[in-house]
């Protein structure tokens, strides 16, 4: 059903949405422009937290908490570990982004991409509304879906994880010879 602007403003959910979305975007912006590596990664945390909040708002509880657990809990830690091991400069540094000659086309590209997608969406959907669900999505139904419709992708993903596990260990271990040098 089409939503008018008046309807949209007066709905509380939209204010909450804005309250969550704006920091998310700003944080994402910081991720890509911060001069401090640690600040970038921590901004990533905020971005991910924002997405998690949005999921909760939409009623996708399981996905939201999984984001928090996996993304923020493990991936970001991985990032921080990576920063540590690669001895990136922990203080502000201008060495983190490409020079302007590289950035200009990227800016252009990003803007254009955003424009294209926005235009596509607005043309397609206009002001159609999403009725918020009465209740949150039940985890059981997700589990059901996963193990009936999506069982094969599920197994494949588990294989991928296994491969990533083994690969990661193999890649990152030190060779016995190198131990003496390092």
């Amino acid at each position: 059903m089409t939503v008018t602007f008046a309807d949209w403003i007066t709905e509380l959910a939209n204010w909450v949405f804005l309250l969550i979305a704006i920091p998310t975007v700003v944080a994402a912006f910081f991720v890509v422009t911060a001069k401090n590596v640690v600040r970038a990664v921590l901004s990533l945390v905020i971005t991910l937290a924002g997405t998690a909040a949005l999921f909760l708002m939409l009623g996708a509880e399981f996905v939201g908490w999984t984001v928090v657990l996996v993304y923020i809990g493990a991936v970001v830690i991985l990032f921080l570990m990576g920063i540590m091991i690669t001895q990136s400069p922990l203080t502000s540094s201008t060495e983190l982004s490409q020079p302007m000659s590289m950035r200009t086309p990227a800016i252009l590209l990003s803007v254009v991409l955003f424009g294209v997608i926005a235009w596509a969406v607005i043309v397609s959907f206009g002001a159609e509304g999403i009725p918020l669900p009465d209740e949150a999505t039940r985890t059981a139904s997700i589990g059901e879906a996963m193990f009936t419709n999506w069982v094969i992708p599920f197994e494949v993903v588990s294989f991928v994880l296994l491969a990533a596990l083994i690969g990661g260990i193999t890649l990152a271990r030190r060779d016995p010879v190198e131990e003496g040098e390092a």
Binding site: P105, L109, L113
Partner: protein
Amino acid sequence: MFASLTPMLAGFALFAEEGEHEVHAGDGGWLAEWAWMIVVVPLVITFLIVFFGKRSPWKGWGMATFGMAFVAVYGAVLAWVNLDEGILYEGAIEIGRIGSFTLEWGWVVDGLSIMMYFLVGVVGFLVFVYANGYMKGDVRYTWFFASFSLFAGGMLVLVSAPNLIQLIVGWELVGVSSYLLIAHYWEDFDNVDAGNKAFMVNKVADTGLFIGAIIMALSAGSFKFSEIFETMVGGNSTLAQFGFWAGLALFIGAMGKSAQFPFHVWLPDAMAGPTPVSALMHAATMVTAGIYLVARLFPFYQLPEYGGDVSMIITIIGAITLFFMGLLALVQNDIKKLLAYSTVSQLGYMMAAMGVGAYTAGLFHLFTHAFFKSLLFLAAGSVIHAVHSNNMSDMGGLRKYVPATFWTFMIGTAALVGLFPFAGFWSKDEIIASAYYNASEDPTAAAWFMVVLSIAGAFITAFYMARAVSLTFFGKYQGHGEPHESPKIMTVPLIALAAFAAGTGLLNAPGLTHVFTDWVTVRAFPIMEHHFEAPSWGLIAIVTPVVLIALAIGFYLYRPKQTQAERDEFSIPVLYPLLEQKYYIDDFYMDGIVRPTMGPIADGTLWIDENVVDAVPNLVAGGAKHTADAVNTFDQRGVDGVFNMLSAATGATGGFLRKAFTGRVQQYAAISFAGVVILALLFMIF
């Protein structure tokens, strides 16, 4: 003097009796059917000598002489049968067709041909026997007899020919063997030149022969003699129209072979060959081929509507030849050249006889001349063999050293000058009588010209022969060493020939015997001529003293005691050099014809050949070469260039494009995303 001649002239009119000679003849039976063997045997023997001669015991001489003996015997038998009952036969095998003309190989057996077979056989046999001794030790002994056999075969092909084509084949065969034999001693280039001269002069005259044959065949419709004469009997307007030209052209061919003026120049030079060759070919047989041709075509030349006009030309040429060539014999120092000019002169007699219509007289003189002239040549050869020199200035007084040769030479001389009762007396006087008869019947300037010259010729003949005999056999020997007589194998043929020279005259003594006439007039088409029933005593009364006076003057002038210096006082200032240079005819031929042809004409022809005739092939070749070059260039630069350019362009493009691969992932990502965006936009818009 002339006043007393008139009653004599009146008396001459007595014996004029015109008439055709009746011809009755059989067909000769198996003798005539197998007569082709006469022609084939010498030719086969030629091949045998070429391949097996060197290995045979007599080195080819035996085979060659056997061939001639075969021909002589067969010819004699045929002559006997012809005399008895007459033979008229013509055998032929068809070998092809050209358009409407049939080509035939045949053999004629009639009076004329039988006479020639007999002549070639007998004289040939005797000369071959002689040649065994003369050519002994020669480097090319076997090849000599092979060529000689070839000549005999060729001559027989000629005289047995029933048509013009075969006659020409024989003509050319004889010409070739003449060339081979004249140049037998080819280590000396002069001899080769002599051979070339003989061949070339004959070739020039042969153009007349070919043209004449063609005109004759096209007008009469056939090459065969019998068919030509048949159309004449029936009346052939085409032949009548062109008859003069055909006859004249054929006569020119005859002039070449029989050394008539002005084609006589080759015969004296032909003496460069061995003496047996001179004796057989250039005295008895080959040179008589021209006379034979005229005799064979006699009906054609006699009838006024066909070839009759040519007869006058024949007479004039013959008369000129007999007198003026005789004069040249007077100034020769070389005994063979002297005899050569004598031969040319006698051939003039024979040809002129044909011209005035004296068929039998001319052939009779041919017959007797063959014997005594070959005798004279062989005897001269014997003398040369003894003295090792041709020049009479190296001889003298040989009568003591070479008696057999001397006596036979004397007999031959007597026959030649026409002393009673030797052969020449009868034959030459018959010619002169016929000439007189012709002049009295048909008084033209040419006819009287002939009579006067023939009598003068008799004078000259006697004169130069007296000179020759005196210089050679009398007086003191001028050379060094001791001349020796020739071996028996050479002297026996001389004696045999002397017997013939002495006796053959009696074959046709007018009023007494007419064996030869009967013999030779056995022809398919009757010969129209005058026959003398009695000797013309008036003529004998004129000619014999002339001859005797000439002999006397000759012997006196060249008597032994006289030296050459004294004789030189008698030389007539202008005439002598003229005679010595042979009337400058040879010089004229050389500078006027030969040198220009060898020089400018040959160069001109070469230029035309190289520039005009070769122009087209050269153009084509040049064009092809240029085309090939162009194609090559196109291929090298054009086609290859395209490929080179393509590869260079690919290289350049690659070199340019690879700069995009910086190795920087972000750049790749940027470009990828840009592409995605553009695609999305496109999807959106369209």
